[in-house]
């Protein structure tokens, strides 16, 4: 069904719409996105997509969910490639996050706006597979491997996530060049993460 022959039935319109939507948003932003444009790009009438998506927001939800899925998949690949228990694995996850967010701007907008909030809540969405848990595991492995004092791993992972997300958001917002013209965001994130971890470990040692 992937030939160039035009058939009455598209064959894979649901996925084609998601791809078309992601492309259009990549090109022109999510603000001016229209269902009709995406339908034309997929080569079907403007009414056809409504067989697969209840409304425009449902399509955007699907795009956002694809974004979450892609991010968690890439996180798993990174974890598998890095030495378990090293702080480098944590850093690598952060760099991957920044890289994913900044190279897939179309997804970023949707994942972190109103759409993303609802998409994440959706019945059909698998929150258990969130990339966040990859980070939690990686943090736990680091503390275990280094023989460091126990910490609240969940708490720590959220803090690391916040840091990395903050750098990503600032990078995406376009405001950084006004404050620091040649900032190297991944390098700053790495330095900040190392400083933070150093402080955390020092506090833990002090407490015992």
């Amino acid at each position: 069904m992937s030939s160039a022959v035009k058939t009455y039935h598209h064959g894979d319109l649901r996925n084609a719409m998601i791809v078309a939507a992601a492309e259009l948003i990549e090109e022109s932003g999510s603000l001016g996105f229209s269902m009709a444009d995406a339908a034309r790009r997929a080569g079907v009438s403007t009414a056809a997509p409504y067989r697969h998506f209840r409304d425009k927001e449902a399509l955007l939800d699907a795009v956002a969910q694809l974004g979450f899925f892609g991010l968690s998949e890439s996180a798993r690949r990174v974890r598998d490639a890095e030495a378990e228990g090293s702080i480098e694995a944590i850093i690598a996850l952060g760099k991957n996050y920044i890289s994913y967010v900044t190279t897939k701007a179309a997804f970023y907008d949707l994942m972190w706006g109103d759409i993303g909030a609802r998409a994440f809540e959706a019945e059909s969405f698998d929150r258990k597979a969130a990339g966040f848990y990859v980070l939690v595991d990686t943090v736990r492995a680091y503390f275990n491997a280094q023989g460091l004092p126990q910490v609240n791993v969940l708490d720590l992972a959220i803090k690391l996530w916040a840091m990395v997300h903050g750098f990503s958001a600032i990078a995406m917002s376009g405001k950084l060049p006004h404050f620091h013209p040649d900032a190297d965001v991944p390098a700053m994130m790495e330095a900040a993460t190392r400083s933070f971890m150093r402080g955390v470990i020092a506090e833990q040692r002090n407490a015992h």
Copy 2:
């Protein structure tokens, strides 16, 4: 011109539209926002706003700019209320940021999406008054007052901003309850900031 008498000319339609837009977005999100709705709320015809805003995005730009202005104003108030040179002043700025973002959801969306990026670049917008510079000054005052080794204050301020923004974004995204049902975001931000600063200072001492 603030009486209840209905006159042909509104008198302050530009501001009324910005207020109406902020309210509507607060109530129903920025996705479904329509110029026509805002015009009805302001009590004018749907064409009237175009005397004050070139198009819908120009109105949203103005709302976003109001958001930036409000944030920087509140930052200045916080700075003036806190002891200069204390780390508490830095923490207080962070808590104010989180509070501002989470209580003014309407602004947040606009400030950090496509609209915000353009609004921030606008010719008419005063970037020199950005709240970020309040943070820079506060960080510098802290290092001076405590007699700590010199650091790159700009660099450090961006890292602190990223942390605080990250916590705010995560709080706004609605995802946190799925990972940590009763997380106290401001408390986590404070703890993370203190850990981070401790690490930074330890590194500075080590380097000398």
